[in-house]
């Protein structure tokens, strides 16, 4: 098990203290709730699509620092992007967190989200990082509520699966 202090870097701590795009969009076109029943993390995600572009996105909830920072940074990177690009990032983020994507050797579009790569060495925390992305995926596909324990969900990432 790696030292988790590599994960608790200033950028993550900063987004935890001052989460960006925090709140609920009044004029959302898509929304979803995300739960992690194992630890009680819960987030609400609202977004507004204009055509196929994510025009606005907000997140609000009660969660650990890893989940909150992941949500905050996610909103900053997907805002203004095309829906298909957001879906691509969802897949890449999940693959990075579960150890399937090697940032050093494989092409990706994650940029500064690479600070979450260390979560792969903390199997019990993988779901914390993925939950916001999981919830974004649900919102884009008009699934009102999702859970990290939803077995049938294609985003499902089993603990220890990293």
């Amino acid at each position: 098990m790696a030292d988790s202090k590599q994960l608790y870097q200033e950028v993550i701590l900063d987004h935890n203290r001052k989460p960006r795009n925090w709140g609920v969009l009044a004029d959302a076109s898509h929304k979803a709730e995300g739960h992690n029943p194992l630890c009680g993390d819960h987030i609400s995600l609202t977004l507004k699509l204009s055509g196929d572009v994510v025009d606005a996105i907000n997140v609000q909830g009660e969660s650990c620092a890893i989940c909150k920072a992941s949500a905050s940074m996610m909103t900053t990177v997907v805002k203004g992007r095309k829906r298909a690009d957001a879906e691509q990032m969802i897949r890449e983020f999940r693959d990075m967190a579960t150890g399937k994507l090697d940032l050093g050797t494989q092409r990706h579009h994650l940029g500064r989200l690479a600070v979450f790569a260390g979560v792969r060495d903390l199997p019990t925390r993988v779901k914390c990082a993925i939950l916001p992305w999981h919830t974004l995926h649900a919102a884009l596909n008009s699934v009102a509520s999702t859970s990290t324990e939803a077995e049938a969900d294609p985003m499902h990432a089993p603990i220890g699966g990293a």
């Binding site: 202090k5 009680g40 019990t124």
Partner: protein
């Protein structure tokens, strides 16, 4: 405050020769993330000392066969050792008769046995079951399933802000439809020691039997079935230096005889035809199939180990640990203890301002400090205290005052990282 000052304030743990005891536990020599393991997750599961490990090995290497069946030597030896373990449990609990001791797979299994064996027979439509806010999910869900099946109701004893059950409210919950009280002896999430003896006496005034969840009590202080006069008492082996997969349900013989079996199968019958089965006598009526023989015998060895140390010494040392830890954590600005009952077992639940318990748990692990974070399978407790989760340090007799210092130092480090 520096570590040196903290150490000067640390009282000696006079109740037990802890360093000698620790030498019995191979796992306590481990290092985690480069630091000595500080194991403070004993309420979830405790560690096993070498004499208990050795007992398991001895059984598997020289005594194993199936029990209660064959006439050969090994089967007779295994049967004798298994039944000897039952008598050890009987003595440990001060039960009147050994047939009142049923081996289960754990506390959850024992509670489900009562829900099926007693509940499905004696609880019907509009009957009521009294539980408390402090119950573990394992003493809530089986009763909800039964209530749903039968159309029965669940009533809940509330707690005050310290996490103590309100006995006056408890008294008012009884009526002519009350069929059972289920109460935990010690809250796994807060550490509250409930006044089960008084609660049992009150229930008996109404002719209502009481099931006590003893999972967090049996490992920590002497529990006496005659003094408590409870009707059922369930606990787990793995929380008291024994193996997983074994537990005990104590039941008064009068109730056990009236109850229906829980699981059907071999060993729980006297005779079987396709027309009719005659059930075995207690406790065998409730031990269908091949039981966890090795685990039961090893639990017997764990009980021997605890008794040799002495339950009173264990309780006194753990009280010292809790008092010191409570005092030290109370000195930390921004840390709040959840559960401040006057009578507590060695459980310290706390929240750190601005830091989610899961972050606390992960960062403590970097320092080698193992605690539990989350809702502790007691979501109604979390709801009552309006927290999504807590961090929980839970102590055993092999923990030391220096380990409390390591916990406190690690919490300070977390606060520093989160600024």
């Amino acid at each position: 405050m520096t570590a040196g000052q903290s150490a000067m304030m640390r009282p000696p743990s006079a109740a037990l020769a802890v360093e000698r005891i620790r030498a019995d536990f191979p796992i306590l020599k481990l290092r985690v993330n480069g630091n000595p393991l500080v194991f403070l997750d004993n309420a979830a599961s405790s560690q096993m000392p070498q004499p208990v490990i050795d007992r398991w090995v001895k059984y598997q290497t020289s005594q194993h066969a199936n029990i209660h069946r064959a006439v050969h030597t090994l089967s007779e030896t295994a049967t004798a050792e298994y039944e000897a373990a039952r008598r050890k449990v009987q003595a440990f609990l001060n039960a009147k008769e050994e047939r009142e001791i049923i081996f289960t797979s754990g506390t959850t299994d024992g509670i489900n046995l009562v829900a099926h064996g007693y509940g499905r027979k004696f609880i019907g439509r509009d009957d009521e079951i009294i539980l408390t806010t402090l119950e573990h999910h394992s003493n809530i869900v089986p009763w909800q399933m039964l209530a749903q099946e039968k159309g029965a109701k669940i009533r809940v004893v509330p707690v005050n802000d310290r996490g103590e059950l309100l006995l006056d409210e408890y008294r008012t919950l009884f009526n002519s439809r009350t069929r059972l009280v289920g109460v935990t002896h010690v809250s796994n999430a807060l550490g509250t020691i409930n006044p089960v003896r008084d609660m049992i006496a009150i229930a008996h005034e109404h002719g209502v039997p009481v099931l006590v969840d003893g999972a967090q009590a049996a490992p920590h202080f002497k529990v006496d079935m005659q003094a408590l006069d409870c009707d059922f008492y369930a606990f787990s082996g793995h929380k008291m230096c024994g193996p997983t997969g074994i537990g005990v349900l104590y039941g008064k013989a009068g109730w056990l005889e009236k109850m229906q079996p829980f699981k059907g199968g071999g060993d729980m019958i006297l005779s079987v035809t396709f027309e009719k089965t005659t059930y075995n006598v207690i406790p065998y009526k409730f031990e269908a199939g091949t039981p966890p023989i090795a685990a039961a015998i090893t639990l017997g060895a764990a009980i021997d180990y605890l008794i040799a140390i002495g339950m009173d010494g264990i309780a006194a040392h753990e009280t010292d640990l809790l008092d010191y830890a409570t005092d030290q954590v109370n000195r930390l600005p921004g840390v709040r203890i959840i559960g401040t009952a006057e009578k507590k077992a060695a459980v310290l639940s706390f929240v750190v301002d601005g830091v989610h318990p899961h972050d606390v748990g992960t960062l403590l692990n970097d320092e080698g400090v193992a605690i539990r974070t989350g809702h502790h399978c007691a979501q109604p407790v979390m709801q009552r205290f309006k927290v999504p989760a807590t961090s929980r340090a839970s102590f055993a007799f092999y923990n030391t005052m220096a380990e409390v210092d390591a916990l406190v130092a690690a919490i300070r480090k977390v606060q520093k990282i989160f600024g």
